[in-house]
Structure formats: C-alpha cells, structure tokens
Symmetry: C2
Subunit: 333 residues, 2 copies
C-alpha cells in the first residue's frame, strides 16, 4: 500500500501554487498518494482541469492560519483550518503523515494537540538537518524551535529521540551526540547546560561532549542538542551569515573587472551550494508526537515539498514513531 | 599625555610574537605608550636588542593562564599571571586600559575582580562589534559571552550600557536597540526574553523590538541585546558559517576549470571580506567594570592588537567608563 501524505496546501509563502505542484510531483517521484488539505477553489485552480488526478485527493477546508498568527490561539480558534485538518486526518488514520510549510508554530501545535505525545515524551522537539559546506554529511539540530525553556531531562530525551531518528535520516548506525554550549570544556555552559551535561555523560550513548556554534558548520556530531530558543537563533544565524557572504561573493563577481568571465563560476557556485539551500534539506521532523509531521520552510518551492514528502514517506515506511517511542522506553527517561 | 595601554603579552594563540609586534606597531600607529605584561625573557626575545624602546615598558610576570584553563580558578590561583597583573596596573593607575587576547573568561574575570563594577551595574557584558557583509555598518552584540543566566533587568542595563558605548564606537547619536529572540513578534521568546521585552518597551529608548538570528548579518539595530550564552553561540555560529561558505567558494575557484582565471577574483574577494575578519573588527569592550578592558580574539595577529589598542585608546580619551556609569545613573536601573 502506498503511504498517504496529507499536505497543507495553504501553508507557506508560495502556497497554494508551489505546494500543489510539489504534491503532484511527489506523487510520482516518491510513490505516494497525496491528500491536499485546503481551500476547495484555491486548490482546484492549481489542478489540471480542476479535478484531483489519480493518487491525489482533496479535503476542503474553510480557514487558513496565516504565517504570523499566534500559533496556540490560531489552532484553538480555527478548527477548520488546513493545518488543523491535516493533523486530524493523520490522527484519524486517513493519512499516514502530515507535511506542512505554513506557520511553523501552528503546524507543531496542531500535530502535538491532535496526535498527542508518544508515551513518556515530556515535550516535542524539532530535528532540523543542517548541511555542511563541502561535505555530504548532515547534522541534526534538536531542538530547532519547538520548545523553549526546557528542563535538563527533556534535553536527555531529545538526545535519545535524535539518535533514533538519525539512524533513519542519516543512515548512521551509532549516532554521536553533542551538547551545544559556549565552550568545549565540560564546565562550560549556563545552568541548563551544566545540569544537562552531567546527565548526558551518564545516560546518552556516544556523547562527544560540548560542541560550539562553529561546530554547526563542520562535522562535529550526528545529533546536536539544544533548547528551542537557542536552536532557532542558531538556525537563523547560519541562514543570515550564509546569505551575507553569498551576497558579497556575487557582488564581487558582478564587478566590471569580472562580469565577463564570472558567468560559469556563478553557475558552478550555485550548483556547489545547492545542498545548503533549505529547499534541498528535506524538511524537519517533529520528534515526540504520536505521528509523522514533517515541516518544510516557509518559502518552500515545489521541490522543497517533494523533498519533505520523501522524508515523510521514509518515516512512515520505517515506522519511525515506533522507533522513537522505543528509544524512550529503553532509556526509561 | 599619551594614554598608557597595558597589553597581556602572553595572551593568545600567537603570543608573544604577534602581540609584542602589534604593541610596537600600535605605539606609533595609535600614538600611545604601551606596557607589556609578561614573561621577561619571552617578551625581551621579541624586542629589538632585547630592550623596550621609547614609549614601551615591561612588567615582568612569572605565570601564564593558558587558553583553556578554568577562568575563575586560574585568576584566583595565578596572582602573578600576565592577565591578573595587567588588570592590576590599570586598577593602580599605572596604565589607562588593558588589552588582552588570551583566555577570554580569565581576562574578563581579572578585569571584573581587579577593577570592580561601575556603580549600579549588576553584571558585566561584553560588547562585540559584528560586521555586516557589504556594509560599513557595525552592530554591537551585547552580551557576547561574559554573563550566562542573566536576570531580565540585567539585559535592560546592558541595553543602556550598549547605547552609551555605541555612541562612541559606532558614532551614532541615538542608537537603536533590538532584543535577540526566536521571532519578531512581541510575544516570541523564552521566559527571559518575554520578561525583558516588557521592560525594554517601557525603559529602553529607541527599542525596535525583537530581532532574529538572521538580523545579526544585516542592518537591524545598533545594539542587539542577548544573554552571554546565546551571544557566544551566535558569534561562533556566524564564524563557522562564514568559514564554511568561504571554503566552498575558494574550492570552486580552485577547480581546474577556473584556476587559471580566478587569481584576481580571489584577491578581490579577500579584500572585500577583510572587514569581516575578526582581526579587523577592533576588539570587544567589557561593559560594566570600573576600567577599560578590550578583548581581542584568541588568534590575534599584530594587526588585531593594533586595532584593539586603537579601541582602548579611544575609550580612554572619551572617558567611556564615566559615560557608561552615567547611562546607568540616568536610567536608574
């Protein structure tokens, strides 16, 4: 049976056009059935002939949660929104996974509220794959922004969940874990990190110790654990720094001295950097909830949706939710 | 009278060679007297003829605090270390400012313990100038790593101190302030940020609201306030991301297709990026202590020391410590 992936057709800056195009492409490229969740007229306008083709179905909803709405309030108030309904069809067994590129907080909140938590999971965390320039390796940053102000023991849980997920996502048998801190030495960190460090040493397999901000951009550990506040700041800091440097490089290449010869260099740079683009990293999995929810970035193109659906389908086929639940049972944290 | 700048000659990965060379160069380039603090033989070995020339003096010390020693313990134990003695000569009025590129935590701890705090300052913070690619503008990140686990009211103090310093360092009459958070909206943030936001709105002039990680790399606010843990992670994250992209770009330019034509492009890129290098940003000022302490990065070259001495001399001449103290008196926080 082909997995059924529910896709929030209204989510993201480029919805519904790119989302629906991505869903149709993913149906063939990944080999899934897709359930488009969104405004009936808006989605049909993107479908050839206005009708869902084979392998595609449509769940009409009447509300949309905008990108900057307060997540918790919006999920409570807009019960017929595409985000809430997409989470519900997974809960109800009509789809196997939920892919969304809309309001990240609302997508996480809907998944948490509709799926519920896996047994023993205190709070959810989002596992964001970070590319490394010039390397095929990825690192998973956990938590990329689901839960701020965590307790130390939640970080321990995220380490276990992150390792279980890294086996599937990174194909690593025995994933290593680093704790993001303000120095490599064991004594470094704020109160949260110091408390977590002692527990990581005692409880987390393959713990390599503290890692630093610069380790986010080089091979340091398969799973890098942090609180959702720091994780969000770090991810956006990487994005900003990369954009800044990229802008500088391209402005130099466009200078009169180089403009005539730099065309092929620019093309090659774009190709070499393509692995670093958020469209190509494949979406982030929400860890700790009783279902598969893959979050793609807010400006997702059709290609980003294909990659996110690929991740979601792999999670369904590997029964990743059971693997994650098992990791917490065995660790008994 | 020329300001006297005490320089930790033993501090940094490239000490004492680059530090002493930088001190000698700064004497002429900045117009200061320098007091080299460090091991007598090691420092003399770097001086022409083994003797301090005019405008240079030497304070011999017998201990060195290594880069990765525990700061507080090392400052307590090594009373005749170059870091501790360099702070003491400023406290005792034999020098006007302390410049160090060694163990950052120990440098800050020595300055805090020997200088004391300015009246009303709860905790120190370090103001790190962040360059913006393609712009002459700088932003000051406060705190870059002096104080983890701050109270919300300390962030308010750092905003006032940061604004007072930005007037001198950035030459901005009415500096704007942003609060680093995990989203732009007022409701975003962890408990610390939410508590701080309300106080910033009420008490901090020119508060522009929350800024995000990507705003560290583009013009967002003159002063960006955060806790020392997040600040340290963000600074090292920027460094890592920039190095990653730079490595990717240069590896493409070295590919066989481009190697013959890319020489001038590489030179121009290095020139265009030179403002982004830590050697050229000029050192970070420790805010909240009763004296001038400028911290240069750990791999400082002679040029980095010249730039740090320039910042220190400007701080002395503008009586920045009194300006900072005045900002807290007026704000009465």
């Amino acid at each position: 049976m082909r997995p059924v992936i529910a896709i929030d057709a209204m989510g993201g800056d480029r919805a519904p056009h790119e989302i629906v195009a991505g869903a149709l492409a993913a149906r063939d490229a990944v080999g899934v059935d897709v359930l488009l969740v969104g405004d009936d007229a808006a989605v049909r306008a993107e479908l050839p002939g206005g009708e869902p083709p084979a392998g595609v179905s449509l769940l009409a909803t009447t509300e949309v949660i905008a990108m900057h709405e307060d997540p918790a309030a919006a999920v409570r108030a807009k019960r017929d929104s595409s985000i809430v309904r997409a989470a519900e069809v997974v809960r109800d067994g009509r789809a196997h996974a939920f892919v969304g590129a809309g309001n990240t907080g609302a997508t996480m909140a809907a998944a948490l509220l509709r799926f519920g938590r896996i047994r023993g999971a205190a709070r959810p965390a989002i596992a964001v794959p970070i590319p490394i320039a010039g390397s095929a390796r990825r690192q998973l940053l956990v938590d990329g922004g689901a839960t701020v102000d965590p307790q130390p023991e939640w970080l321990v849980q995220w380490a276990h969940l992150g390792r279980a997920y890294a086996r599937l996502r990174l194909g690593v048998e025995n994933p290593t874990v680093g704790l993001l801190s303000n120095g490599e030495e064991a004594g470094k960190g704020d109160a949260l990190r110091k408390a977590a460090y002692a527990r990581f040493e005692a409880e987390v397999p393959e713990f390599v110790g503290n890692v630093e901000g610069r380790d986010l951009s080089r091979v340091a550990a398969d799973v890098i654990v942090t609180d959702g506040f720091t994780g969000n700041v770090a991810l956006k800091t990487i994005e900003g720094a990369m954009m800044g440097i990229a802008g500088l490089v391209f402005s130099v290449l466009d200078e009169p001295d180089f403009a005539e010869i730099s065309g092929p260099i620019k093309l090659r740079l774009l190709e070499a950097a393509s692995d670093l683009l958020p469209d190509n990293t494949g979406g982030a999995l929400l860890l700790g909830v009783q279902g598969v929810c893959v979050i793609s970035h807010g400006s997702s193109s059709a290609n980003a949706i294909v990659n996110a659906v690929r991740v979601a389908a792999a999670c369904v086929e590997a029964d990743v939710v059971e693997s994650l639940a098992g990791s917490l049972r065995r660790a008994a944290v």
